[in-house]
């Protein structure tokens, strides 16, 4: 059953154009010029209950705008959206009861008060039954190791501790859906791992639907079987991470260490990615050439001392899509 449906979602922001200098400021007093910025441009997707989806895109792609529309704090310019059967911006408060949100860059906890006080306040806001609240608190404390700093004022917590507190805070009322906006930003490896473990368990054990936006592709590899890629306000890919890898991870890299500096490198079917002294990285399409064939070609032409092959990682794949744009069936594929 679809828990989130977004169809032809568009959001256009109208901004005042500011001209530079005093002259511009004076002119702005009398006549204002506006420019339209299209943040989200016809986004479509559907999420089934219990899915864990990575929502990815470069800065300014429209990720946050989409999330804001889904949470009900932004009204779309056109298009329709339903979250658990509710149009979020029409019934913001009701929608709020169904969702939990974590912003990596913005805490929802009370700065001056111990973590426990923020939790108590959230219990009152969401009207969580006392038993359920204590059960959840005990459960989250165990997974996230909160016990040590439950009574410490939030201002004295480290970023990792604060984030763990924020995660527990977002989940105390058993939301059906959680939106995680760059939740691992700035965290050390240990904290990241704790958070990832928490997300996995919440999704698996409670069936919570999770939308995760991140720039850390390790999060995606660890957590989300499905990814939605967005760029310039449009969905450019929606599917299994595995499919993205096969469609886009078409190029492998052969790292060759030459025995002596070659004057010019020319291996048919490859292009030079980089060259540092004797180490040269050659990129090739694995559908056209096997690694064995490439190595043979290199060895026929040059004396070499070492070779290794690098498989494309998700980072490279996504970077390539951001730079080159997505075309169905992958760039460089024989048409």
């Amino acid at each position: 059953m679809a828990i989130i449906e977004a169809a032809d979602l568009r959001k256009v922001f109208r901004r005042i154009v500011r001209r530079p200098g005093i002259g511009g400021a004076v002119r702005a007093l009398f006549s204002r010029e506006y420019e339209d910025k299209i943040a989200v441009d016809g986004v479509n997707f559907t999420l089934a209950e219990g899915e864990l989806v990575g929502y990815l895109g470069p800065n300014g792609a429209g990720k946050s705008t989409t999330i804001k529309i889904l949470t009900g704090i932004l009204v779309p310019t056109s298009g329709s959206v339903r979250v658990a059967g509710i149009v979020p911006y029409q019934r913001r408060q009701e929608n709020a009861e169904n969702i939990g949100v974590v912003f990596g860059q913005r805490s929802q906890l009370y700065w001056d008060l111990p973590l426990r006080e923020s939790f108590e306040l959230l219990r009152a806001i969401y009207d969580v039954p006392r038993n359920r609240y204590l059960e959840n608190l005990a459960h989250f404390s165990a997974i996230l190791d909160l016990e040590r700093f439950l009574d410490t004022p939030v201002r004295q917590l480290s970023l990792g501790e604060r984030m763990r507190g924020d995660f527990a805070a977002a989940m105390l009322h058993d939301p059906k859906i959680v939106y995680l906006d760059e939740p691992t930003i700035g965290l050390d490896v240990v904290a990241k791992e704790a958070i990832r473990e928490f997300i996995t368990r919440v999704n698996r054990e409670r069936g919570t639907t999770v939308i995760l936006t991140t720039h850390d592709l390790a999060d995606v590899e660890r957590l989300t079987p499905r990814v939605i890629l967005i760029d310039e306000g449009r969905v450019i890919f929606d599917g299994a991470l595995q499919r993205l890898r096969t469609e886009y991870g078409t190029h492998r890299t052969l790292v060759v260490t030459f025995a002596e500096a070659p004057t010019n490198i020319d291996v048919p079917g490859t292009e030079i990615e980089s060259r540092e002294g004797l180490v040269v990285r050659l990129r090739f399409d694995r559908r056209k050439l096997s690694a064995e064939a490439i190595i043979r070609r290199v060895m026929e032409r040059y004396p070499i001392s070492d070779v290794s092959i690098i498989e494309p990682d998700i980072d490279t794949i996504v970077r390539r899509i951001y730079v080159e744009g997505y075309q169905h069936g992958a760039v460089g594929a024989p048409s």
Partner: protein, 275 residues
């Protein structure tokens, strides 16, 4: 917008979250203990200074005939007592949250957002109201202020409450202007001056020249301080209570309407423009 508009079903209203907001605000204020000493300390110093000023003026026969020397010192002391809670900008969190964008997190919660600011501000004010106890004792024991009969005291308390609400909405309106402009401290400063001068906190308004008085009563500031204070010192007789408190109520209703309109327009700006 495509799609049929759904009926706006309001979720069941519960008071509990707002009580908790107020309680949390009190707990937060309690973490700044230093404030307690500075508040009491500056109260004592200011009453002492004002007593010196009034005593000197009365010694030179510049006394207004409506108020005795003791009555005017009482007036000043009670005004400063009121100031302990009235001078708090209890909704400044709104301005701060608009500046740093964290207002978005409040809209993510199933709460009526302006009620949150009201509850939070009231919690803060209630905490400071506790300071009224030692401050009042000092005013009674050291400055020997006049204590009127229970009827007048009750009328004063009610008028004080109405004055507080006038001040609340005035602050809320000022903080709401941060929806449109980021810099509001200059306007706030001007309003603070106007309140000091035309609210009657420092100088009883009856000492002002007649032409100025008409002007002053056309502003909401007198409803904040002057009305309850003049009730306390007996310049406003019981026969006029209905009239003066009615006027306070008119100000509250008017300012509440302006507040609501500003909040609606401002929050619409957020949901349409993204802040």
């Amino acid at each position: 917008m495509t799609g049929a508009v759904e009926p706006r079903r309001r979720p069941r209203f519960r008071l509990e979250p707002y009580v908790e907001f107020a309680r949390t605000a009190m707990a937060r204020e309690a973490t700044y203990r230093f404030d307690v000493f500075t508040t009491i300390g500056s109260f004592v110093v200011r009453v002492y200074l004002l007593r010196m000023v009034w005593t000197a003026l009365y010694a030179h026969n510049a006394a207004p005939h409506e108020l005795s020397r003791r009555a005017i010192i009482t007036y000043s002391a009670v005004a400063l007592l009121m100031g302990i809670v009235m001078d708090i900008d209890q909704t400044r969190a709104l301005k701060d949250k608009l500046h740093d964008g964290s207002i978005a997190t409040d809209f993510l919660k199933p709460i009526i957002v302006p009620f949150y600011f009201f509850a939070d501000g009231t919690g803060e004010v209630l905490f400071h109201a506790v300071l009224l106890i030692p401050a009042t004792l000092i005013a009674l024991l050291i400055f020997h202020i006049i204590v009127p009969g229970p009827g007048v005291l009750a009328a004063f308390a009610l008028s004080f409450l109405l004055g507080y609400l006038v001040g609340f909405f005035l602050n809320f309106i000022l903080n709401c202007s941060a929806f449109w402009t980021l810099e509001i401290s200059a306007v706030q400063l001007i309003v603070t001056w106007l309140t000091d001068l035309f609210g009657g906190e420092l100088i009883p308004l009856i000492l002002f020249p007649a032409f100025l008085q008409n002007f002053i009563y056309a502003l909401p500031f007198a409803a904040m301080f002057s009305t309850p204070l003049l009730i306390y010192v007996g310049v406003i007789p019981p026969s006029r209570y209905f009239e003066v408190m009615g006027l306070q109520l008119v100000w509250i209703v008017g300012l509440a309407i302006v507040s609501t309109l500003m909040w609606r327009a401002g929050s619409r700006r957020i949901v349409v423009q993204g802040g």
